[in-house]
Amino acid sequence: MNSDGNPLVEVMGLRKYFPAQGDWFAQMLDRRKIKAVDDISFSIPTGTTLGLVGESGSGKTTTGRLIARLTQPTAGEVRYRGEDIAPLSGRQLKDLRRSVQMIFQDPSSSLNRRKTAAQMVKEPLRIHELVSKQDMESRLVELMEMVGLSHHFLNRYPHEMSGGQRQRVGIARALAVEPEFVICDEPVTALDVSIQAQILNLLMDLQDQLDLTYLFIAHDLSVVKHVSDRIAVMYLGKIVEVSDTRTLFADPKHPYTRALLRAIPRPDPRSGKRMILHGEVPSPINPPSGCRFHPRCPEQIGEICWEKEPDEITLPDGTFVACHLYAGEGR
């Protein structure tokens, strides 16, 4: 995998707030917001995979959707190849859709149950006018084989396929337009364990063959470890740590990352008792003051933890971390 160093995707000061209430009237009375994503910044160099990890309420899915431009930011920017994607519309937006694609989590929901695989994979080809009528059939077969499905699947409906097969169709659809950047939103979470490895292998093979850049969103650190070059850890709308994969696991910096690693069960009965992280994940409507993690943090150092939000610090080994523990160690 080559990396020319120029970030393909850049996220700067990104925020996404949702109104806490459903309709406009209630919104007038209750102006509180769900701060799903609250000022995050990171970049993804071409040809690499950035893993985005977090539990529920962390904002990782919303981040994925913001980068996919399925929703617009409340503040901040998403840049693709240096260009802000927020103001794009019409022709330009359509062009963006050729470069940026998404693989969804739930293979039952991401396929239209009344359409065959052929119809679904054909759609992006048709909309972007990429293939002539004569070549369509062969292109569809080619795409199916690329994801490991025989052409027999072309005229099957989703309910005539297993979960893993449906996910492959979703991947074929995403790759039909030959994108450069693919956002994988929990692509194996909804699949059976014995199929997960197959799909992960497929995604990695395709990245090599087609020179893709991935944003890999997941809640399972062991899966993310396997596919990512760098990993960003999110908690309650904020990024708490970004580091390359090896360093993150060998030397996690942020207390949340450390707690997460300790809480994950190992498939090894002799791995000893897990460290329990107490408390519930707080609500994104009313996040804790100062550092969001402070109520559950086993390594609090004092008042500063609940008074001031920690700055993002770059450590000598290249890790970004947002924690008062490291104030003064980096820039």
Partner: protein
């Protein structure tokens, strides 16, 4: 477009292991067949349609032709009696000497024409309104459309229909180059009355479907709003809409008959079941029981048929029945 060098080993390519299931249509038909009531409904509706379509062939006599009563008797004559001219009134004659059976057949025809026409227009209007409102949930468009729908729904449908007829007037009207027949105007009136129901259903389904990922996937494929609504979402809205249409046929029939009964619908001498009922009012207790019973029964059966059919369709389209046991 360069084809990437993909190494595909034949053993790597998966062939289908899951059984091919019945198609949607077969599945629906299969479920439908099992239900006795819905089959009955279906049979009734089919018979009504046959009568309506082939009325000119099936009706023994001209519905507006008046026959003379035999000496000493006067119309309305009871069933199985004969006129002076020898016509056999299988179901009796009306007060003008017309054959009730023939009039009933033709009445059935006009009723179904009206109902079908108005349902089609209501469907189109409702789907459009509901689709736009649902896809643009939360926007002012959504609010505007749904408040209009709410206003319309707050009127009892018959009252609304009467008001609209009052506004449009009875009889043929001329609007610029268009000459609208009375029947067409009534169809529009009824369509307007029932389109809110379709709009509601459509919006509900659209809301459900937009929550699914395939809609997002369609956006990622580059589709525009209209492309997605028409190309992806619509096909999923058809089952509940068909159920709604079938159930609404029943109420549409009732409304048309009611309008005719009140004299606000189709005008005589056009054969209409509603008008027949109106004429029969004087004879309800006067002995000519067949005069009201025949049109009344026809209306009853048609409405019953559509209701049963609609219920049956709803049950057989129910995805819960089609779903397999989760293990």
């Amino acid at each position: 477009m360069s084809t990437p060098d993909v190494a595909v080993h034949p053993s790597d390519v998966i062939t289908p292991t899951v059984k091919k299931h019945r198609g949607l249509l077969e599945e629906v038909w299969h479920n439908f067949r099992k239900n006795r009531l819905s089959l009955t409904g279906g049979v009734i509706v089919v018979m009504a349609i046959i009568i309506a379509v082939f009325a000119p062939l099936l009706a023994p006599y001209n519905p507006v032709e008046q026959f003379s009563a035999p000496l000493g008797q006067h119309h309305p004559l009871p069933p199985l009696s004969r006129s002076e001219e020898g016509t056999l009134f299988l179901l009796g004659s009306d007060k003008f000497g017309r054959d009730i059976l023939s009039r009933a057949f033709y009445g059935c025809r006009t009723l179904l024409q009206l109902a079908t026409g108005s349902i089609t227009i209501a469907f189109a209007l409702g789907v459009l309104m509901g689709g736009v409102a649902g896809y643009r949930k939360g926007s002012w468009v959504d609010e505007l459309i749904m408040r209009i729908v709410d206003i319309m729904l707050s009127f009892p449908s018959l009252v609304l229909a009467i008001a609209l007829v009052g506004a449009f007037g009875i009889g043929r009207t001329q609007i610029g180059p268009f000459s609208l027949s009375n029947m067409f105007k009534i169809a529009i009136v009824i369509a307007i009355t029932y389109s809110p129901a379709f709009a509601r259903v459509m919006r509900g389904v659209v809301l459900q479907e937009t929550a699914e990922d395939y809609v997002d996937a369609a956006k990622m494929s580059g589709g525009s709003g209209w492309q997605i609504l028409a190309g992806e979402i619509f096909v999923n809205t058809i089952p509940p809409l068909i159920v709604q249409a079938s159930l609404n046929m029943a109420t549409t029939v009732l409304t048309s008959a009611s309008l005719s009964f009140l004299g606000l619908g189709l005008q005589p001498p056009r054969p209409s079941l509603g008008i027949m009922l109106n004429e029969a009012r004087d004879y309800l207790f006067g002995g000519a029981w067949w005069y009201a019973l025949v049109p009344g029964t026809f209306i009853l059966l048609i409405i019953l048929g559509f209701n049963l059919l609609g219920d049956g369709l709803r049950d057989s389209l129910d995805p819960r029945q089609a779903r397999r046991t989760r293990l």
